[in-house]
């Protein structure tokens, strides 16, 4: 590994072609970059991917204030996009006559949603043979698809609420078929775009008209839509988890919704403070019984392991507040702002959280390196000769 002034180089990748582009910028800075800078142990390279998919890297972007300037996009257009080189590990390359390159020792992905959290970026980083923080490609890809998550979780015998799913093409081809299937569910319903996070495009439908409208909205954001029974009376619980083989849970957290649906605005905007996730609207720890807390934590760890999560993730639960029945709702492989407010309440400081995630990334990378992925074979020699078995 190459060291920059005795410090390891870490790239924090954020932004991206995703509906959660702006949330990703917040997560990257609060707490990731601000904590990394405060440790004075890393040379931090902020890598910003624009909504058009261009990559930029400039240490001025280490300040969140850069993205709050009215002309930040104009400033960005004056920068040259960087390219990546995998020739000698993971390198950021600035083009031009006086171009330069920077080898990166560790990558901290901070991208929510499509092209980032869905496993795409993880695939790229695996190819580049560089350690990276958070879930690997497989868990990321499964967790990004709410339907796939439910199917995997249900296959392992864990409870999920009844649901129906369809693609845009299927809906266009035979909407009535799916309307009939939806009718077999108990109203009201939640209609969700399958691949989006941060509650974007999610709507609750009580009537047929609301259902049609909600499906139209969801199909606007995604080509695959999930309609599921709403749990009522609902108690939402979310549980951040961290680890590779040894998994630890943070506190059970209860979002205190300002509207019936805990949407994007509640999550990130309502407090009016730029502290990442809006923690003014959550109860930590959730005021639920010890038994329910234990049940949810055990279930969370099972889900984490079933999906093959590593580093960090958050499992969301729907609890029937009357019967105390618990359902696994979805898994988020990069919780907004790492849910650092919950970890803090669980006794884990931002510094401990970020450094532990880096340690876990290195641990997984070392374990992958020691694995055998290729073996010698004489198959090529036999091509055209004796029949290949």
């Amino acid at each position: 590994m190459r060291y920059y002034g005795g410090m390891k180089s870490i790239a924090v990748i954020f932004g991206g072609r995703s509906a959660e582009h702006d949330v990703s910028i917040i997560t990257a800075h609060i707490p990731i970059i601000e904590t990394l800078l405060a440790t004075r142990e890393y040379n931090v390279w902020p890598v910003y991917i624009s909504k058009e998919g261009k990559w930029y890297c400039d240490q001025r972007m280490n300040e969140l204030g850069f993205f709050k300037q009215p002309d930040w996009e104009a400033q960005l257009s004056e920068m040259k996009p960087v390219s990546l080189s995998f020739t000698a590990g993971f390198e950021i390359v600035w083009p031009g006559v006086f171009g330069k390159s920077q080898k990166i020792d560790i990558v901290f992905p901070s991208m929510h949603g499509t092209f980032g959290e869905d496993g795409s970026l993880m695939g790229l980083l695996r190819m580049a043979n560089v350690p990276f923080v958070g879930c690997d490609i497989f868990a990321s890809a499964v967790a990004m698809d709410k339907v796939l998550t439910k199917e995997v979780v249900a296959a392992e015998g864990m409870p999920v609420v009844p649901y129906v799913w369809f693609t845009q093409a299927q809906w266009k081809a035979d909407a009535d078929h799916f309307r009939t299937k939806i009718k077999q569910l108990k109203a009201p319903y939640f209609v969700k775009p399958v691949h989006l996070g941060s509650s974007i495009g999610i709507a609750k439908a009580k009537t047929d008209a609301e259902l049609e409208n909600a499906i139209e909205v969801a199909l606007h954001y995604d080509d695959k839509v999930l309609v599921e029974e709403a749990v009522e009376p609902l108690l939402e619980i979310t549980l951040p988890l961290m680890g590779n083989d040894d998994v630890r849970a943070a506190q059970c957290e209860r979002p205190l919704n300002t509207s019936e649906l805990f949407d994007f605005n509640d999550k990130y905007l309502s407090s009016g403070k730029s502290s990442g996730v809006n923690n003014a609207y959550s109860e930590i720890p959730a005021k639920i019984s010890e038994e329910l807390t234990r049940q949810i934590k055990d279930l969370g760890i099972r889900v984490y392991r079933t999906l093959g999560c590593s580093g960090i993730a958050r499992v969301d639960f729907l609890v029937n507040d009357s019967t105390k029945e618990v359902f696994v709702n979805e898994v988020n492989t990069l919780p907004g702002s790492l849910y650092h407010h919950n970890w803090k309440a669980s006794g884990v400081s931002n510094r401990d959280l970020v450094l532990e995630l880096i340690r876990l990334a290195q641990e997984r990378f070392a374990s992958q390196k020691s694995r055998t992925y290729a073996f010698k074979s004489d198959i090529l020699k036999k091509v055209g000769g004796p029949k290949v078995q």
Binding site: A38, R40, S275, V354
Partner: protein, 473 residues
């Protein structure tokens, strides 16, 4: 070498004026800073030069002085037979060393010009005060003056019209400016007397003519100016000498005050003051509650002030208030209104972490009571953040080692120290007392303040003790 070269940086002149401003245009303090500074780069860290007319004038003068000094040095060199170019170089090399002294002389001159103006303003204020019917209370001491002033103001305001200068208006000119704002119908005026040099307090006494006095404490603050603690004590006790038979309240919790107090003085401490006896007291993050016994009645009062060291001053304020005619109920309500003052054991909740801002508290007694307060907070992880104390003179090693020992004895879990000339003594005190917690070092305050939110968790208590202004780094 870097320090030497920093004198030739274009920002050198600005830095000098910034520090003149930071030292409140006191030429002696400015020159003392100049003499102990080697590297003039990156001095403006926490604050920046404010372009007041005075500052602009000084900048112009300093540049003029630079050119003049360079020219004169070159001329002298040339006259002694040095070739022209080398003379010019010698001139430029010498000029930065001469500029601070020319600024020093200019400020002496300007201050001398100000004397008659100030004398006129103060004389006018003195005439106003002489006619003013209000009861005048003076507060003097090396530390605790602002706290005492604010406690008195809160308690007495419950039954009287009270006025007191805000901020640290404790010089004749500061007080005179406050007097200009008086309406004339105030019933009590509270003054904070600042002592910088011997004779200062007596001068203020003759100006204000107080009828009541409070001496809050004596310690090593300003030792670099007073040289000995006894001289500081004698200056502060000028208030008692002036008041003679009139009531003087003295803080008996402070050893030096006890040593200098006369038997006729009214002592206040954790046990009470005058007719107000403290039966019980307890403190925590939410404030301090005190059970008083007064005229055989027991009275419970809750203050939002943190720390048991406030019990004595509150008792003194209660005794003064009752002697000025306030009822017990009025006094209780007044005590309820006392709350932490800016930057003095002032708590705020930040993401589940209790931050206690004690950044204006920069004296050994203040540090001791802050640590004592932290000691009372059991069941929480406690952080103590400090760059150490300034103006401790020859006692700086002893004072800081004591802080280290007190921190170790209070079992403070985390001690965050800023690297400078005094904090190694705190570390030494900690180590000698077999400190079991963690010492975290930072090179700069800003780096520490940036890192702290990333290192703390919900429930932690972080106390920031003293905040060195740039002139002390």
């Amino acid at each position: 070498m870097k320090g030497l070269l920093s004198r030739y940086h274009p920002l050198y002149i600005r830095t000098l004026i910034y520090m003149m401003q930071a030292n409140e245009y006191y030429p002696r303090e400015f020159l003392a800073w100049y003499h102990r500074t080697f590297d003039f780069s990156a001095i403006e860290k926490r604050k920046h030069l404010v372009y007041t007319p005075k500052a602009v004038l000084l900048i112009l003068f300093a540049w003029g002085s630079f050119v003049f000094s360079a020219g004169m040095s070159a001329y002298v060199a040339f006259e002694t037979g040095v070739p022209g170019v080398i003379s010019a170089i010698i001139g430029i090399l010498f000029a930065p060393f001469l500029v601070p002294y020319s600024l020093f002389v200019l400020m002496l001159f300007l201050n001398a010009l100000q004397i008659p103006v100030e004398w006129y303003i103060v004389a006018r204020a003195k005439r106003v005060l002489k006619k003013h019917p209000a009861v005048k209370i003076a507060v003097a001491g090396s530390y605790g003056k602002t706290t005492m002033r604010e406690i008195l103001k809160s308690v007495l305001s419950s039954g009287k019209r009270v006025a007191a200068p805000g901020g640290s208006h404790n010089t004749p000119l500061g007080i005179a400016k406050f007097v200009e704002q008086l309406r004339g119908d105030e019933e009590v005026l509270i003054f904070e007397f600042g002592e910088y040099y011997p004779g200062d307090i007596m001068r203020l006494c003759k100006f204000v003519e107080p009828q009541w006095g409070v001496i809050t404490g004596i310690n090593e603050a300003h030792l670099e100016r007073f040289k000995t603690v006894d001289r500081a004590a004698a200056t502060i006790f000028e208030l008692a000498r002036y008041l003679k038979d009139k009531p003087v309240y003295v803080n008996a919790d402070n050893e030096l005050v006890r040593a200098h107090a006369a038997t006729t003085h009214i002592r206040y401490d954790a046990h009470g003051a005058g007719d107000w006896q403290v039966v019980a007291a307890e403190t925590g993050i939410e404030g301090t509650s005190i059970d008083f016994k007064h005229d055989e009645a027991v009275l419970r009062a809750r203050s939002k002030l943190l720390g048991l060291h406030n019990v004595g001053p509150i008792a003194a304020a209660a005794d003064i208030a009752s002697k000025l005619g306030l009822t017990d109920e009025q006094i209780r309500l007044g005590i309820e209104r006392t709350k932490p003052f800016d930057h003095r054991l002032q708590p705020r909740l930040d993401g589940g972490v209790v931050m206690i801002d004690d950044s204006y508290n920069g004296n050994p007694d203040g540090a001791r009571v802050a640590i004592e307060f932290l000691r009372t907070l059991q069941g929480r992880r406690r952080w103590y953040v400090t760059p150490g104390l300034v103006e401790m003179g020859s006692r700086k090693q002893e004072v800081h080692e004591t802080i280290g020992r007190e921190l170790a004895q209070a079992h403070i879990e985390k001690v965050v120290l800023l690297r400078n000339s005094v904090t190694p003594y705190i570390a030494k005190g900690l180590q000698e007392s077999d400190y079991k917690g963690e010492i975290v070092w930072f090179d700069e305050a800003l780096a520490a303040y940036r890192a702290l939110p990333t290192m703390t968790v919900s429930g932690d208590v972080v106390l920031i003790q003293n905040d060195w202004p740039d002139q002390y780094f």
